[in-house]
């Protein structure tokens, strides 16, 4: 009886100790269990623990899609000290609901954050305050089969006409110019964004996603006219509405399609599909309206502090730590992406990273992505419209009118 009692007391005591988080406990919910992202994140955590021996980090690594659903529950019920999330309009609901901590003080006081993140600061801001720290971003552009281009004597296209010409040559060689998988819609938004950025520029992109320009506006119609040209002369693979972006890699890897408008994360998947570095090339989406300043898509991934966090001091310490140039350099070398810190080193052995860095660092403006810049409901309707347009271009008028209707309701 006595032993039983002692054991119970011991159990209760240890349960209590585990329950009451000490001052040095830091809980992080991360959202990418892929081998490289996980290793890079864990390396950064280990470096932080080595620098701060009094802090004990607990990391929960969840699947990306599961994280998107779970975050709404854990932010209000049982908040970690740090969580992964996306900037731009994607963070807006949580910022507006008061679920994210305002860390403008950190952005102002930390010499590294205040000087090396100028390009990306606007995306991390809402209501003039900063809400998170980005740890990575990546370029978008056109990936192409360098070997197929060489076999057919096609040069890397620098202008819209050259790209259309490349499409003609590919078609006559029996290769579908572009692959894409629009089952999950957002890939079509990438194509739309680029056509719109190249036709009208960065300001129009922002005005459209902010609801200030109607979809039936002549400028947006011009974008769709260019898209129509692209559909006719540079056809996309058939059946794209039933494929995910990974499914759409198959025709690219098998040489049935020559180009892919994509983000840099696709390179790893292309190599997994059996392509070598020499077979894959990258070029910036070519200029359409001459003389227009070149803006790029460059979505960022970031870390945020929930307002319900228990250990906000160490959380701030952690965010400042992972913003350092060497940490950002290591992290992104591992995952094959770009460090948002402009003083961080990039992996010079990776030609896509070198070109990507060149692409985004010389861009006149960085867009997040249609579905991160526009509010969720508008993004959903818009991307369905893009998909419908790709399949039934003749319905353009009806689609644009429908998008106007959604826009009117969403931004009221």
């Amino acid at each position: 009886m006595m032993t039983f009692k002692t054991t119970m007391t011991g159990l209760c005591a240890s349960a209590l100790m585990a329950g009451a988080a000490g001052a040095g406990d830091l809980v992080i919910n991360f959202d990418d269990p892929g081998p490289a992202p996980k290793a890079a994140f864990e390396a950064a955590v280990a470096a932080f623990e080595a620098a701060n021996p009094d802090v004990n980090v607990t990391a929960n690594i969840n699947d990306r899609e599961a994280h998107k659903t779970a975050i709404r529950n854990f932010l209000s019920a049982d908040a970690p000290d740090i969580t992964a999330w996306y900037p731009g309009n994607r963070m807006a609901p949580f910022v507006d609901a008061g679920l994210f901590e305002d860390i403008s003080d950190l952005w102002a006081s930390d010499p590294n954050l205040s000087t090396s993140f100028e390009a990306i600061k606007p995306t991390m801001s809402r209501d003039g305050k900063q809400w998170g720290v980005p740890y990575s971003y990546y370029q978008w552009g056109v990936y192409f089969r360098a070997d197929i281009f060489a076999d057919n004597g096609i040069e890397k296209p620098a202008t819209w006409d050259e790209m259309l010409g490349a499409c003609d040559t590919l078609k006559s060689a029996g290769v579908t110019p572009f692959t894409i998988g629009t089952k999950y819609l957002w890939t079509a938004a990438g194509v739309f964004d680029y056509l719109n950025l190249r036709t009208n520029g960065y300001e129009v992109h922002n005005a459209l996603t902010a609801g200030e320009i109607a979809y039936t506006d002549d400028r947006i119609r011009a974008t769709f006219a260019n898209w129509n040209t692209m559909l006719e002369r540079c056809s996309f693979v058939d059946n794209h509405a039933t494929m995910s972006w990974q499914d759409a890699l198959a025709p690219f890897a098998q040489g049935e399609a020559g180009m892919y408008v994509m983000g840099n994360f696709a390179v790893a998947a292309m190599k997994d599909a059996g392509l070598t570095d020499d077979q894959i090339g990258f070029f910036q989406f070519p200029e359409i309206t001459p003389g227009l300043p070149r803006a790029e898509e460059a979505p960022a991934d970031a870390l945020f502090i929930p307002s319900g966090a228990k250990n906000k001091d160490d959380a701030r310490k952690f965010l400042a730590f992972i913003a350092q140039p060497d940490i950002q350099g290591e992290w992104n070398k591992e995952i094959g992406q770009l460090p948002p810190n402009s003083k961080a080193e990039i992996n010079l052995d990776d030609k896509f990273i070198v070109q990507g860095f060149e692409t985004v660092s010389t861009a006149s403006g960085l867009a997040q992505f249609y579905d991160r810049d526009a509010p969720a409901e508008m993004a959903k309707g818009g991307m369905e419209g893009f998909q419908e347009f790709m399949l039934k271009p003749e319905r353009l008028d009806a689609i644009l009118k429908r998008l106007d209707k959604i826009q009117e309701r969403v931004y009221k």
Partner: protein, 301 residues
Amino acid sequence: MPDPALPQRNWLKANRQRVAPWVFLAPAIVFFVIYVIAPIFQSMWFSFYAWDGLGEKEWVGMANYVELFDDDRFYTSLKNNIIWLVLYLLAVPAGLMVALFLNQNIAGMRFYKSMFFFPFVFSQVVVGLIFTWFYNPSFGIVGKVWEFFGASAPSILGDERFVTYGIIFAGLWPQIAYCMILYLTGLNNVSSDQIEAGRLDGARGFRMLRHVILPQLWPATFLAIVVTVIGALRSFDMIAIMTQGGPYGTSNVLSYFMFEQALSEYGFRMGYGSAIAVILFFIMLIFISYFLWVMYQDEKR
């Protein structure tokens, strides 16, 4: 010493017969109220608000319903729900045919029966995935068959004209198996006296089926119709797996539309989603009350 608990115990003793069923029912009633009845009224209540699930709820009155009845996607979903309802009911006669075919005494019949029942054991998600691959025009079996005849295959799940039918066809596979099992158990109970009597009166073939066997199978038929109608109205998993309502929302049904608006990545319009749920609930209510009424009439007889 007088026992203070005595009068109460006497009451219990006297009313034991009446109290016992309620005691046994209590746990079920409590959970039914908490998890079924209360959420129904909660959804109705939410449907009058604009709410993103996080911030403050804002009272908007009938605005969600006004928007819903002006929403093309709602009518697309409703139309698809009706197509589902009509075509999904094909599972009932198809299940009957399979059951009649399998209701023989041949060696190994149990094995064949279990093979036919197999698709119902699969998760709907698996069935959806299998058919997604079937339908793929470049490597799926549908594509190969078309190729064999020298034609280029249609993209069944990528074409608004075929997509809903493609998903329903996939959904019929497990549903036919389900109806088949219901009929097989029903066929076990068909009385052989009546069949012999029918045979003496000269009934055979289709007339035997129509006038002797089918009437005896009425309980199985009724059950098969009920589960099929309810299955058609809440068809969700197949759509989520095969198309996510696409291309551009043309294969949506009310249940998936509701999920998309309330809980998906681009949704979190709880009020609007609730309004869809309420409409779907009333549609289901029509069928459920009809079924309950039929059952009640049967009991009375």
